[in-house]
Point group: C2
Chain length 217, copies 2
Amino acid sequence: MEKLSRKDREREAKRVMIIDAALQVMKVNGFEHSTMDEIAEVAEIGKGTLYLYFKSKTSLYLAISERGSRLLNEQLGKVLLLELPGITLIEKMGFTYLNFIRENPLYFTAFNYFEHILNEGQMTNSPIIEQCENHAKEAMTYIVRALQIGMQDGSIKNSYDPKELGIIIWGASKGVMHMAFLKNHANHMKILDDVEFDLQSLITGFIELLGSGMKND
Amino acid sequence: MEKLSRKDREREAKRVMIIDAALQVMKVNGFEHSTMDEIAEVAEIGKGTLYLYFKSKTSLYLAISERGSRLLNEQLGKVLLLELPGITLIEKMGFTYLNFIRENPLYFTAFNYFEHILNEGQMTNSPIIEQCENHAKEAMTYIVRALQIGMQDGSIKNSYDPKELGIIIWGASKGVMHMAFLKNHANHMKILDDVEFDLQSLITGFIELLGSGMKND
DNA sequence: TTCAGTTATTGACCAACAGTCAGATATATG
DNA sequence: CATATATCTGACTGTTGGTCAATAACTGAA
């Protein structure tokens, strides 16, 4: 049972308010072109105060990613509770992910930012990075659970290692979503210009393709 | 037939040399933490000169991406010349891509940077962006051609639209490669820590999975 | 209510770095 | 050799992430 003092609750509320302000600024200026000065201004606090709540711009951005993955995980967790064959759970998770990034494109950008930071190898041993990693691990676990359920109920081939298959599904989904995201958000994307498709049909095709690779005959 | 004057050839050679210098600096400092001052120093030119050859840091980074995708396309193009079933061409392209980013991780980072720039919607109508997009489109065409060959020779189901399938394969491959890349380069990546795998086996699993979704029975 | 001690806030300031430009240097031409 | 043109340069500027000494707000005891 968590018992937070009034101080702690106020502090937490302010943290949330700052993240709201940051998202608001980013909606206008884009993710990278938002400045700490403007975020502080919108949050109606001094810039120094901003740095009392987030020790760097990177930290603030990661906090956005953290919130996003927390929200997404809540939804993925609910899918796992449904009484459905494993293969259907996997499909539903795919669409849950799709709808989430469609409704929250900024969070998707934040997810990519998080991975970029991991890649660059900076900010290791930071608590916010750890939280983000835990969320990612949790999402991964939801997928693996669904796969295990599917292997149990016979809806998914059991010739793959569920964890390895989980990584593949996770990675491939992110890649395809990213593609779809580009189509919708980039002004011009020559690769995609030739192809008539909407997000939904692309993802449906993708899930079908993966599905027919995983499904038991 | 391109006939370049000595001037033009010298200019081109210097451009190449600057990109070499930039890659060298990035190998040490990482992609983002390299400064134009240091790149100029390593290239043994003044900073002002650097800006005569690349109009911004972004342009220079995109030039690296451009070179990378040009090199990759050369290899993909060669695969397409082999006398093999379409499904095998697709598999070979997958491994070509894998080996390329394994041997040239910096180019892979550059590719991601290019997509990031597209996402942010900056630098539209810049010639270097256009070149990068053309390369991406070319790579995409190689995949689609291989799919068409496979649909012709019967090794690939023809129930999918080859272009849509191409986008799916392209996106999914990038996503899975990215995952594998993280495992190798990020210091810690909790999602991946649990799973014992090497790049090769993950990609093999992925290609097998996609393959069994595409293959004719 | 007062006041010392503690905590929270602030914005002027600093350092780093992308990008500029007036002047210097090299090269071509007659 | 002299002039014109092309190329190069690094000191300078503007912006922005991050700091810190000064200030304000709060707290609890007398």
